[in-house]
């Protein structure tokens, strides 16, 4: 019994004791809270084996060791009865009520699952309400019942356990050191550098292999960040309806719409770079550094992708001509080449060169002249 490698690191002070020592040391440090049970009642309890106690043979030996002090050996560490039986009885009823209602709520949950279907927003809401409501009741009542039980029915107890320094004894450390060194010596790892070095050399490429294996996670960026799908002659179409735009239709000053390159409206990868807003101004409102030859009838096209971290810069304030990115509030002056007025963006929104085709629809006259969207290392 005494050489029990219990493997329990938390066994603390009792780790190296035999059973009798262990029990007696426990006894001395256990201390009851208020309502310590009386000595007679403890004495009258016959020793009975429950889980975790030594088998009867050991228990008898312990009794024999101490002769007539048998009663003291079986002294309880924890009190058996709560200090106030009347209060405990009341609490017992409350706890039982909690558990009973929890059970009913649990059945309610099952019934609600069976009765309330889903398939529409209203049904889903009702189902959610009933399932969640009953489940909440079950869980909260279980918790409440258990807490009332602990606080009002279990007798209050405070125990003190010794704490020992975590540092092992010098002897143990020395023994460990010896064992470790012995092993190292026996393995010949230290003595035979050839094995050691070749082993280390063998693991080097192995360590690199996983990184190399990740190479095909994606293509290299190349120059793809520099370009969009805009080309000379590509029509601007209204994002959503996909209709091409004539300057005549888009004639009320101050209006703004989102625009896609024709044919790429549903291509998220393309749109993530190519999304554009066009804004109609009154004559003379547009000022440099807006590139005026790239505008048509006081309509200007800017990239919608914020030059900060790429959110769609979508909020437009007509009176001030400010374009505001809703993510981090970079603010651009739409009348002056979308220059930055405030916020963390460093560059204006790139302007798309725009013209008209033979049918009078708005077209791009080239791709953007600079990369759109957030900054990146290769961008010059």
């Amino acid at each position: 019994m005494s050489n029990n490698p219990s493997g329990q690191p938390g066994s603390g002070d009792s780790g190296e004791q035999s059973w009798p020592e262990y029990l007696s040391s426990r006894e001395s440090r256990g201390s009851f809270g208020p309502g310590e049970s009386s000595a007679e009642s403890e004495g009258s309890v016959p020793p009975r084996r429950v889980i975790g106690t030594p088998p009867p043979a050991t228990a008898r030996t312990m009794l024999a060791d101490h002769g007539d002090g048998g009663a003291a050996q079986t002294a309880r560490e924890l009190p058996a009865e709560p200090p106030d039986p009347v209060k405990a009885k009341k609490a017992e009823l409350i706890v039982a009520a909690c558990f009973l209602i929890a059970m009913l709520a649990g059945f309610g949950f099952l019934v609600a699952y069976g009765l309330i279907g889903v398939g529409s927003v209203t049904d889903a809401q009702h189902s959610n309400l009933w399932l969640g409501g009953t489940l909440s009741l079950v869980l909260l009542l279980l918790g409440a019942g258990a807490v009332i039980w602990v606080r009002n029915i279990m007798p209050p107890v405070e125990q003190t356990e010794a704490r020992h320094p975590l540092r092992s004894t010098d002897a143990d450390r020395e023994a460990f050191k010896e064992t470790f060194e012995e092993g190292a010596e026996t393995s010949q790892f230290v003595k035979r550098p050839l094995i050691r070095r070749t082993l280390i050399a063998a693991t080097v490429p192995l360590a690199v292999a996983p990184l190399v294996l990740l190479r095909d996670m994606g293509p290299l960026p190349g120059t793809s960040l520099d370009h969009t799908v805009w080309r000379k002659g590509r029509r601007l179409v209204v994002y959503g309806t996909g209709r091409p735009i004539t300057p005549g239709e888009f004639s009320s000053p101050g209006s703004i719409i989102s625009v896609a390159p024709e044919g790429f409206q549903d291509d998220d990868d393309a749109m993530a770079k190519a999304a554009v807003i066009i804004i109609k101004f009154r004559p003379e409102e547009l000022q440099p550094p807006t590139v005026l030859p790239w505008t048509v009838n006081d309509i200007v096209a800017y990239s919608k992708i914020c030059t900060h971290v790429g959110c769609p810069a979508a909020l437009y304030e007509q009176t001030t001509h400010h374009i505001l990115c809703p993510c981090h509030q970079s603010t651009f002056d739409a009348a002056r080449g979308a220059t930055v007025l405030f916020g963390p963006a460093t560059r204006p929104l790139p302007q798309l060169p725009m013209g008209l085709d033979s049918q009078g629809f708005l077209i791009a006259t080239s791709d953007f002249h600079e990369p759109v969207g957030p900054s990146f290392w290769e961008r010059s």
């Binding site: 909440s136 079950v138 909260l140 704490r163 996670m217 809703p326």
Partner: protein, 559 residues
């Protein structure tokens, strides 16, 4: 009786095979100290368990796929809309699976509670000094867990591929692109090409449901094992020392309490999941790179990074054909990096400065470590200002204040705020210590005024109870710095003479600044930093636990 017999035979059956009777008995009687703040870590643990349970349920229907589909489900406003399968299956869980919406909302609330719990738990550990030796390893594990939690949360709420989370991914992509040299490569590898591509959701999915939770589970296990092995710290009180643990035994007390607490956490999350709508992705719509809602907010634990991006001025360098996007990668990496790094090195820094290599198992009251507490509040202020700045548009809207003013206030505030917070907190702590001293020295004021025979009025006081006194007197002392080798010449020891030694000495003075120790019967109790106590002229020559104030004085004479 029959239950007892059944238990007994089961127990014996197991013990015949596992030899556990003795070890398990010790476990059952292991003493756990109790304090409300010790529940914060349990909140995190139980939230995590609930996340695993609810998350598993969600995977039964969720499809981590970005394939385009046209929606035909039961949410009418989105019928006929093009969306990804991920988004469609999230709608399916919400509207066509019984209990799906409930479990989804519990999952999201549990994630928020998990992170909130980590923050609160971490602050508790910091302010009570529970990270001190021997618990530095667990402190570091905790910081790793916090980092993993941030990633896990970010990846998790990005999965439904809705407009809000897509914007989050877009920002993530922009931030990664801004990293010098490797940025665009890393972004292309992560997204499998240009943003958004079709791979990011399945990739984040496997990280979110397997890799990161696996790591968290492993680290949580180690975290708990170490807590168990080293035994929990305890709050100061009568009879509580660094050599004992005072509390209730695991079985039945701790088990019952913690079981109840699990039900409370689960119950509270269920109430939230039932009655408080969270992340209604059907209102945001499916992701597309062209749209964005005003007033978009990430989950709260990402708010600080969001605020850092917003507060940063537009700085950028371009030279030699390369772009240094300081406006993006500085706010993305520096503020949070600073907080985490400082947190990680703090236990070791404090140890080096104070020279305190002892084990600490009784927690500090925050007031009794004024500098540490002030530093903590200072960091909270820094974090908090950036966090609030992350919602600057909402504040501007709600309080009708110009948006740019708020950003400017935050730009100034992140420098001024922490400094002010430090000074004020330190003064408050020392003030509270003085108040404690008053209680110890003069007792509790009773409000009874007595007139002495001579006509003098005095107020009666009664002595502080033993329990309260034990708490009041629980100030940790600091070992003195290595002092002069020979007191006559006052030459400091060699390791204190160099530049590093001088730095340490300077920090030592700041770190050990406290109110003077209380005087009881004319003798100082505990050890202050040497103010107001005359030295006895015998400088100590080595670091010693609780060395008297004399040695502190001696080291002050160094310059």
């Amino acid at each position: 009786m029959s239950v007892e017999r059944a238990l007994e035979s089961t127990g014996n059956w197991l013990d015949d095979r596992l030899h556990g009777a003795r070890g398990v008995r010790v476990l059952l009687r292991k003493v756990f100290p109790d304090h409300w703040s010790f529940l914060l870590g349990e909140v995190v643990l139980y939230s995590f368990i609930i996340l695993l349970l609810t998350g598993t349920f969600l995977t039964l229907w969720f499809q981590p796929s970005m394939t385009d589909v046209i929606y035909h489900g039961s949410y009418l406003p989105l019928r006929g809309v093009r969306m990804s399968e991920a988004y469609q299956s999230t709608l399916h869980i919400s509207f066509d699976v019984r209990g799906g919406l409930l479990i989804r909302q519990i999952h999201h609330w549990a994630a928020d509670l998990f992170m909130a719990g980590i923050f609160a738990h971490m602050l508790r550990i910091f302010f009570t000094g529970a990270y001190r030796k021997p618990r530095e390893i667990n402190w570091l594990i905790g910081i790793v867990l916090l980092t993993l939690g941030l990633l896990e949360g970010l990846f998790g709420y990005s999965l439904p591929d809705d407009l809000l989370s897509g914007a989050g991914l877009r920002i993530l992509e922009g931030v990664i692109q801004s990293i010098p040299i490797v940025g665009s490569y890393v972004a292309f590898f992560l997204f499998g090409g240009a943003f958004p591509g079709h791979l990011i959701v399945p990739r984040l999915y496997i990280l979110h449901v397997l890799l990161i939770p696996g790591l968290i589970l492993a680290l949580v296990s180690v975290h708990l094992f170490l807590m168990f092995h080293q035994k929990h710290t305890q709050m100061p009180g009568k009879g509580r020392t660094n050599e004992n643990v005072v509390g209730a035994p695991t079985y039945p007390y701790f088990m019952a309490k913690t079981g109840a607490f699990f039900f409370f956490v689960f119950g509270a999350l269920t109430v939230a999941g039932t009655f408080i709508q969270i992340n209604p992705i059907w209102l945001y719509g499916p992701f597309n790179p062209v749209a964005m809602s005003a007033g978009s907010q990430p989950d709260f634990y990402m708010g600080m990074l969001e605020g850092a991006l917003r507060v940063m001025p537009a700085w950028q360098w371009v030279f030699f054909g390369h772009t240094f996007a300081f406006n993006v990668f500085i706010p993305a990496l520096v503020p949070l990096g600073l907080v985490f790094t400082l947190a990680a090195i703090w236990p070791f820094l404090e140890q080096w400065i104070t020279g305190d290599r002892r084990e600490h198992h009784v927690n500090d009251r925050p007031r009794n470590a004024p500098t540490r507490t002030a530093l903590g509040i200072s960091v909270i202020t820094f974090y908090g200002i950036l966090w609030a700045e992350g919602a600057n548009d909402l504040f501007a809207n709600f309080f009708d204040v110009p948006l740019y003013w708020i950003t400017w206030a935050a730009r100034v505030g992140i420098f001024v705020g922490p400094a002010l917070a430090y000074i004020i907190t330190k003064r408050i702590c020392i003030g509270l210590q003085r108040k404690d001293n008053h209680l110890i020295e003069h007792g509790v004021e009773t409000g009874i005024i007595r007139q002495l025979p001579g006509g003098e009025f005095i107020e009666e006081t009664r002595p502080v109870s033993d329990e309260a006194l034990a708490i009041l007197l629980s100030r940790s002392d600091y070992p003195a710095l290595p002092a002069a080798e020979t007191p006559e010449t006052a030459v400091p020891p060699s390791k204190m003479r160099g530049g590093l030694g001088r730095v340490r000495e300077r920090f030592y003075k700041v770190l050990t600044e406290t109110a003077p120790a209380p005087e009881v019967n004319g003798h100082a109790i505990g050890h202050g930093n040497g103010h107001a106590v005359e030295g006895n002229g015998q400088g100590h020559t080595a670091i010693s636990a609780g060395a008297g104030p004399a040695s502190a004085d001696a080291s002050e004479e160094d310059h």
